[in-house]
Symmetry: D2
Amino acid sequence: MSKMSKIPVAVLGATGMVGQRFISLLEGHPNMELVSLVASEKREGKRYKETVNWLLDTPMPEESGKLRLYKLGTDFKELGAKLVFSALPAEEAQKVEDKFASDGAAVFSNVKVNRMRDDVPILVPEVNPEHLGLIDVQRKARKGKKSSDGFIVTNANCSTTGFVMALAPLRQFNLRKAYVSTYQALTGAGYPGVASLDILGNLIPYIGDEEDKMVAETAKILGTFENDAITPHRVKVYPTCVRVPVRDGHTETVWVELEQNDMVEVADAMMNFKGLPQRLHLPSAPDVPLVVHTKKDRPQPLKDARLGSPPARARGMAVSVGRLRAHENMIGFTLLVHNTVRGAAGGSVLNAELAISEGLVR
Amino acid sequence: MSKMSKIPVAVLGATGMVGQRFISLLEGHPNMELVSLVASEKREGKRYKETVNWLLDTPMPEESGKLRLYKLGTDFKELGAKLVFSALPAEEAQKVEDKFASDGAAVFSNVKVNRMRDDVPILVPEVNPEHLGLIDVQRKARKGKKSSDGFIVTNANCSTTGFVMALAPLRQFNLRKAYVSTYQALTGAGYPGVASLDILGNLIPYIGDEEDKMVAETAKILGTFENDAITPHRVKVYPTCVRVPVRDGHTETVWVELEQNDMVEVADAMMNFKGLPQRLHLPSAPDVPLVVHTKKDRPQPLKDARLGSPPARARGMAVSVGRLRAHENMIGFTLLVHNTVRGAAGGSVLNAELAISEGLVR
Amino acid sequence: MSKMSKIPVAVLGATGMVGQRFISLLEGHPNMELVSLVASEKREGKRYKETVNWLLDTPMPEESGKLRLYKLGTDFKELGAKLVFSALPAEEAQKVEDKFASDGAAVFSNVKVNRMRDDVPILVPEVNPEHLGLIDVQRKARKGKKSSDGFIVTNANCSTTGFVMALAPLRQFNLRKAYVSTYQALTGAGYPGVASLDILGNLIPYIGDEEDKMVAETAKILGTFENDAITPHRVKVYPTCVRVPVRDGHTETVWVELEQNDMVEVADAMMNFKGLPQRLHLPSAPDVPLVVHTKKDRPQPLKDARLGSPPARARGMAVSVGRLRAHENMIGFTLLVHNTVRGAAGGSVLNAELAISEGLVR
Amino acid sequence: MSKMSKIPVAVLGATGMVGQRFISLLEGHPNMELVSLVASEKREGKRYKETVNWLLDTPMPEESGKLRLYKLGTDFKELGAKLVFSALPAEEAQKVEDKFASDGAAVFSNVKVNRMRDDVPILVPEVNPEHLGLIDVQRKARKGKKSSDGFIVTNANCSTTGFVMALAPLRQFNLRKAYVSTYQALTGAGYPGVASLDILGNLIPYIGDEEDKMVAETAKILGTFENDAITPHRVKVYPTCVRVPVRDGHTETVWVELEQNDMVEVADAMMNFKGLPQRLHLPSAPDVPLVVHTKKDRPQPLKDARLGSPPARARGMAVSVGRLRAHENMIGFTLLVHNTVRGAAGGSVLNAELAISEGLVR
């Protein structure tokens, strides 16, 4: 693909934490070129770098910093993009994403509002690439409208993303139940997010809506696509979601009930887990989606959710797994997912890469 | 009980974190009087307040601060005590506790080494007071030795203590399985304990030996005492133990499998749970052993593991429970236990109070 | 003073961090009785305990929790109080405090807006009790108005309070310059205040307006009251104010230029420093206003800004000083002040106690 | 310089925090090649990656990880190196460094023990490159010994390094006094270093020896080299050193007394400050040694002491300055130095680069 043929993309909600991560991940992307940024009305016309409170560890991409912001409400056509990443606040996303899709946009959303719609896939490319089939369902439903090409693809909630990545290779062992407790990072709550007085030396044992998302999204993502619809997986998920004073990286402790209790088989399945993104060599696909640690005190957020580090971490796109063990009839393990990369912006970028590769965005 | 008749007690391992808590809890105790402190040889003869690195929030009891330290190795008889609290390092505890018991001491230990011995009870007075029957078994075994009155009673590991307190009222519902993830405080690792570079903004997904303790101790504590022996409870425990950057208070997220899934019944059982310590009005017994929270974001370590606060917290001796909910066939909840009070020194003090009340220490 | 004769008091801004501290400190007060609480309009009529997000370590006083809230804008007369503590946001305080004083209220304010008015004292009772003379100036200025009895007394900014307490006994040595760097706690920024993402493992090297306050307030407080006006002290203050991830307690590192460099003299002056509150035995006055530490690693926020602890800390009303040392021609030391007690609500309560004792509130 | 002619170097104390940083910074170095690692005896013969507890954010260099460790006590000749970086514990460094220098090694030390020796320079290449003249003094003193080529060059203490970098351009304004308070990161105390219970939500107001180092080293570094000796600068330094819960990056708040109070002149002097490393384009030299921030809330450790970020930060080798302001006759500012890069290993690496460039190591 020559530079001329890069897909022009826009980011909605460009100044928030996830918006920033989108911009960071799109820097120098081989298939996509960031052309437009959309934020709230008060920032309209300002240069990105002059108005954003940049929160990432990595530096702001220079070119993107110079872009002038469009206001939310700007027509899709004005943005000069074909593909749109949405990191909008939930209350604004539903209307906007729908309108954009109707206007022909390929919308890759990080927002929860459209995830549970029957005709919208929650895509995790290693896990359920066939769910992209729902795009056709969406397009048919829009037939007759001015543009029938647009569609919406969502990523999963940050906690769910890491969770389904680790569960995916266990489906073959007749996965029936999964107990999961999370240790979620502060960046997952956005900015300003959690007040320091609430979390310094403390934890918050409830994250609104998060447990319901893990139950519903997991069943949908692991489900099968047949006859233009998804049949949810029968796995029963028992989640407890907790916020902890960690900056980046959601840790999750898991016990699963399988028909297989041979640790070697389970470990093999995880270590050898590959998906379509790996076979297609998508630009953001980690070589090894599940990095299995054998040191008992790993994975740790500070050591294993860092970017720019060992190749195995693949810039935050791989999920780390550790503490694999069998006990009675169950398998236990602990996972770590970079919540704003794989669990948010990076997940959507990989979704877009898969859709582009499949010829769904032109 | 007149002041004259207070039981004289000693604390072994007096300068450590748990030793400090023992000293703090014994200040002004109605039935016990702290008379001797034992620490490592290098501190021998020094006044407690001059050598200890006092780490508690609460002030050092003035009288105890003036006591001069005995060295480890001092004979039980020299200490002038009848009852001994042990907060020794594990490697030193086994020999010393045994020797002291043989010499006639009523040893109440916070150390793991003797917990799984067949004739030593792991006592949590609200849960298994009848296990005190093992004291007779111990005494019989020591018959013929110079003193047959001594014995060893252990408390449970800090995480286990909170866990079995919450599980105790669920035994009536045919408790079969329990999945538990912990969020354990730094004080649980002693001092200097966890290096700041390892835990600031991080978590450590493994605590050596802790999960095994939760499995074995829980089954023993919830077990039945018959024919001079304990038959472990059949509950299967699936634990994952994690250290988090919290100072005091272990949080635990739990899912249990019961025959009863009626939330009201379960909540009632927890709220109305009382035990022998409550009926006997033991000095350290909380009026309400399980404080059930209805606010979704509670319990929190910073708000619910503080001492000197609302009576319901009972100076760290009550266990907080929250987030009670039913899902499919399981009951979920989150608990919080003050790890160095109820989960360590306070647990042993209550054990001693029960033994004294039962006439086992004279 | 019989219970019947307690002064009835109201708290403006009752639900904020400082408002909570006022309520906590007024529980069981011997001379004042809390009768009314005022908060924003949306909380009007609600019981305090049902609407407040209680943030203090200490439990909410039961009686105060039952009070129903008045809305801001309620007339002073309706509150049934003679004395009013103001913890309002700055933008609302100026108008309200002035109106209340005009209506006859004795206003003790924690807000900055009136501090630098010529006829309003910034009172730190150990340091400048004679500045209460400005009340007469205020009353004369209001003569002819419906009520000439009301007045406004402010406390100092939290950082300034600790600073002037430590500088007060050094005035005798011809205090000329003071260099001060602060390490300010999160509670000083209120709630939600500082975002966790901004401060976890970080510090913020600027606190808006804080340095200017330290310069101006220090000179005014240490100044002399003559001919109905205050002449500022000539000390030059060079401050740098920094926020750090500490919950309670502002630490300040100080170098002062004096004519006296004899450490013994300086230490003596600090240790023996007493003021009018001590001589009058005011209820909130610490016996020892400056607690001088000799251990090199003290004072520390976690050890020395705790409440409910050693008497010397006097429930957060004493200022801790440590690391006293001489170098070249300067004296260095480090101080710690409990920012929401001595540095905020507690300071105002002591101010009220002094005014009551002097017969200025009846 | 061709690859063949790279100077072979060894690192003493290779497994500690600073040793790790040396190894990290030497990866792919254009002029030096890491050939040998030395650690404590118990690690002898092990591969580095199998024995080290790697603590850095950045990944361990693969080649270095394969090196087998020499034990401390190994002869310089056996290491196959010409140049040695020393990150030894102080108690072991003095003897070893001296022996190595006598044996012909060019020793670049991060240890305090030799810093104040009359014939050893404390080198900060932008500030006092002429102090390298002391190498000749050392060599002359060793004349007649088996090898007269060896020498010792030290870097400055971490806090001092940032401090003298910022003071250097102010010497021209007749720098007379400097008041400095530090906010020092945990990595400065090594590993395990500060106990988490001591610092989580707290600060420690004393760092042993640190203030004395700042006074003595600053005067020596800023001093003049004449007649084979250094005359200390007359600046009087008033330091207070404090540990805060920050991972990387020492912040320092400073007030200086100059003859120049024109802010523009001072800011210009800082912004335009360059030294010999910049003119020589040494590999580790930052283009801009002092990065002057104009945003009031900068520099911050989390934003400005990160590596791998904007070029201006130059991989941790530049010092950030902010909050420049004039008040009365003083200039105030705040600085931030990466304590384990510029303030430790990176400083020594730059020292070595300068010495190599000057032909002192061959």
